[in-house]
Symmetry: C2
Subunit: 377 residues, 2 copies
C-alpha cells in the first residue's frame, strides 16, 4: 500500500493552507509564472505604463509571491507598498524588495489576506489572483475582502475587470482521449479476469463503478489545452463579466451558482475546416487594467488567455469535451446554459454544468438539449 | 497564478483525511496495488496457504480497500471478518464481499480504525500497511492501535514481522540527476538575467535560496527506484526489525527517532563492476507472515521488496544519493549511523539522516564521517 502524491485532494475546513498555499511556497513554481511572457508584459505595462496612476500612492499587493508586482508598483512611484503573502515566499519577497532598492517603500507582511493588519487604507490594490477558467482557486474572494477592508472609497483595482469567455471547438486530438478511455476499460476487463483466475476473487461487481470512474476522469474533467484559433467554430462569447471594483462577495458566490445563457453562431470557414462537427467547448478569460473612475489608466491593458498562434499563457484554456461529437452547419446557432459552482469537497475547485442545444440555420429545427457535467480540478 | 496539484503537501492537525486517505479512494489506485504480483502472491499464500490458522477464526482487516484480504480470509475459513475502511472504497468492498458469496461473513465498517467499533475481539489482524521505506505513511500506528484494542491476548498479526534493510549501491544513471540539477541552476541564471533586462527587477538576491531548493529537490529527496541486484556493493543489512505482535506505539515512535548503527563489508565482484565507488544507499523492507506462538503459520511467507532481476514491486526501493561518489575497495567496511524521524509538517512522511564512514581493509584508515540528510516525501 503505497502512493506518492494525492491526485485529487478533497478539502474541508482548516485544510486549506497545506492543500492550496504550499504550491506557491517554492521558487520553482514562482519561476514558472514569472516566465509567462504575456502575463509578465501585461502586468508590467499595466503598472509601469501608467506611472501617473501610481505616483505617490499607497498600494496593496494581495498574494505578492516573489514580490514582483510590489517592486513594479514601487518603481512606478508608489510611496508605500504593502505586500501580503501567506507562504514562506514572503521572506524572498522581502529580499527582492531590498535588492531592488525599495526596502523602505515595500512592507512585506507574512499572513493570509484575511488576517493581515495594515496601518492605513490604500489607493490601489494590485493582485494576480486569476486561476484556470478564471475562477478556480477562489483567490478573488480574498481580493474582494481586502478591497472592502482596506481600499479607500475612490481607490483602484488592478485588474479592474475580468471576463470569462467560451467558444465551441473541434479538437483533432480528441480521438486519442477516447482511445485511452477504451483502453482503460479493456485493461480493467483483463485485470478482473486475471484476478479471478489467479486469486479466486470476483471483481466484476465493480465493473460499473470503474466505468463511471473512467467516464469522470476521461470525459467529465476539464482539460488544460493550448488551442489554435483555427479550432474555434464561432466567435467567443462572454459567460460572465466581473467589475472587480463593485462586485460583492455574495454576488461572486451566487454568480458561480447562477445559470447563464450564451448564444453563438457558427462561422462558415471554421465549420468546414472542422468536418462540420463540435466535440468540445473551450473556456478562458481576459483581465483588464483600466484603473478606476477617479484615477483611470491612461494606457489600459488587456491580459487575454484566448487561443493565439503565439502559444498559450500558463493558464492555457480549459476544454470541456463533447462525446460523441455534434454535427453543425454554417450559421447554425449554438445555445448553452451554464452553471458554474464551487465543488462541495474543495470550494477552491469548480463544477461546471452546461446544457447545449443547436438550432439549424436551414430549417430552424432544434436538437435535443444535451446536459454535460464537468469538474475543473 | 495557477497551479494544478500540490507537489509537496504539508500537514497539520485535521488535514490528514484529505491529504492521505483520498489517494486510496479511487479504483484506479486500488487496481495498481492489486496488479503487483509479488504483493498479491505473498498475501494470498500467507492466508490461503495457511487455512488451518484461519478456520473458524474472527479476523479484522485494517484498511481493507477493495476488500481482497477480507475475501481471502473468508475463503480460508474465517467465521467472521470485520473489514475497516475510511474511504468511499468501503462501498466497493461491500459489493466485493457479496459478489464472492461472503455477504454474511464479511462486515464492512466505513470508519477510520481509531473510530471503528467492533462487536467483539478478534483472533487475527490482517493488514497491508507498509509504505515506501516501510514506515512512510505511518499506517502501522493504526494497526498497533487496532491490535491493542481489538486483538485477543493470544491472537496473530499478518504480517507478524517487518524488517527495514539497506545496502550501498552504485547507480549508473546518477550522472543524469547531476546534469538535471546543473541545468536547473543554469536556467535560473538565464531567467534572472532576462528578468532584469526585460522587466528591470533584480532577482539575484534569491540565487542562494534557489540553489538550496534545487539541492533539496535533486540531492536530498529519496528517489523511487527499481534497482538491479548487480548494483549492490555489499550484502543487505537490517536497520530495524519490528515484531508487530509486541511492538508498542511508543517504541515505534521512538524507533523512528533513535540512532542505529549498520556495518557492511564491500563484496569484491560488485565493487569491481561498479568502478570502485559508492554513489548511493538503497533502502527497502521485508514483511514476514509467521502467525503467532499459539497459532503459528505452517507455511510462513516472506514478502520482500529487495532488488531482483524480476522487476520491482510497486514499493520499489528508496535511493539516497551520495554526491560526490565515495571511493571504496574490496573488503572495505562501511559504517552508517541512521536516524529516521517523522517530518514535523507531515508526520506521515519521513526525514532520514545518516552518517557514513569507510574503513579501508588494506590500511585500517577511516574516511572522514560524512553526514547526509534526506526527505522521504
Amino acid at each position: 500500500m503505497a502512493t506518492y502524491n494525492v491526485d485529487r485532494p478533497e478539502n474541508v475546513d482548516g485544510e486549506d493552507f497545506s492543500n492550496y498555499f504550499s504550491a506557491y511556497g517554492f521558487l520553482y513554481n514562482q519561476k514558472e509564472m514569472l516566465e509567462d511572457p504575456h502575463r509578465m508584459a501585461s502586468y508590467y505595462n499595466a503598472i509601469l505604463g501608467n506611472k501617473a496612476c501610481f505616483k505617490d500612492k499607497v498600494v496593496l499587493d494581495v498574494g505578492t509571491g516573489s514580490g514582483i508586482l510590489a517592486v513594479w508598483a514601487a518603481q512606478a512611484g508608489a510611496k508605500k507598498v504593502y505586500a501580503v503573502e501567506a507562504t514562506y515566499m514572503a521572506k524572498h519577497a522581502e529580499k527582492t524588495a531590498v535588492a531592488n532598492g525599495f526596502g523602505d517603500v515595500i512592507d512585506v507582511i507574512q499572513a493570509t489576506m484575511e488576517e493581515a493588519e495594515l496601518p492605513e487604507k490604500v489607493d490601489i490594490i494590485v493582485s494576480e489572483w486569476m486561476g484556470y477558467f478564471l475562477l478556480r482557486e477562489s483567490m478573488l474572494d480574498s481580493v474582494i475582502i481586502a478591497r472592502d477592508k482596506w481600499l479607500k472609497p475612490d481607490g483602484a483595482m488592478y485588474p479592474s475587470h475580468a471576463t470569462l469567455y467560451v467558444a465551441p471547438i473541434f479538437d483533432f486530438t480528441d480521438d486519442r482521449r477516447a482511445l485511452e478511455h477504451d483502453t482503460a476499460l479493456d485493461n480493467w476487463g483483463h485485470f478482473t479476469e486475471d484476478l479471478e483466475r489467479k486469486y479466486g476473487v470476483k471483481f466484476g461487481c465493480l465493473d460499473a463503478s470503474y466505468k463511471e470512474e473512467c467516464k469522470q476522469y476521461f470525459y467529465q474533467s476539464a482539460l488544460w489545452v493550448d488551442s489554435h484559433p483555427s479550432q474555434m467554430l464561432a466567435d467567443r462569447t462572454a459567460v460572465k463579466e466581473f467589475d472587480i471594483l463593485t462586485l460583492t462577495l455574495d454576488e461572486l458566490k451566487s454568480n458561480h451558482g447562477g445559470s447563464v445563457k450564451t448564444q453563438m453562431r457558427m462561422t462558415p470557414v471554421a465549420v468546414e475546416n472542422c468536418h462540420n462537427a463540435i466535440n468540445g467547448v473551450l473556456g478562458w478569460f481576459d483581465a483588464d487594467f483600466r484603473g478606476c473612475p477617479s484615477n483611470p489608466a491612461p494606457k489600459p491593458v488587456t491580459l487575454t488567455t484566448e487561443p493565439t498562434t503565439e502559444g498559450a499563457t500558463h493558464w492555457g484554456q480549459q476544454q470541456f469535451h463533447i462525446n460523441p461529437a455534434i454535427a453543425v452547419n454554417n450559421d447554425d446557432t449554438l445555445s448553452i446554459d451554464w452553471e458554474i459552482r464551487r465543488q462541495k469537497q474543495n470550494p477552491r475547485l469548480l463544477e461546471v454544468t452546461y446544457k447545449l442545444e443547436v438550432e439549424a440555420a436551414a430549417t430552424g429545427a432544434k436538437s435535443a438539449a444535451a446536459l454535460h457535467h464537468f469538474k475543473v480540478d
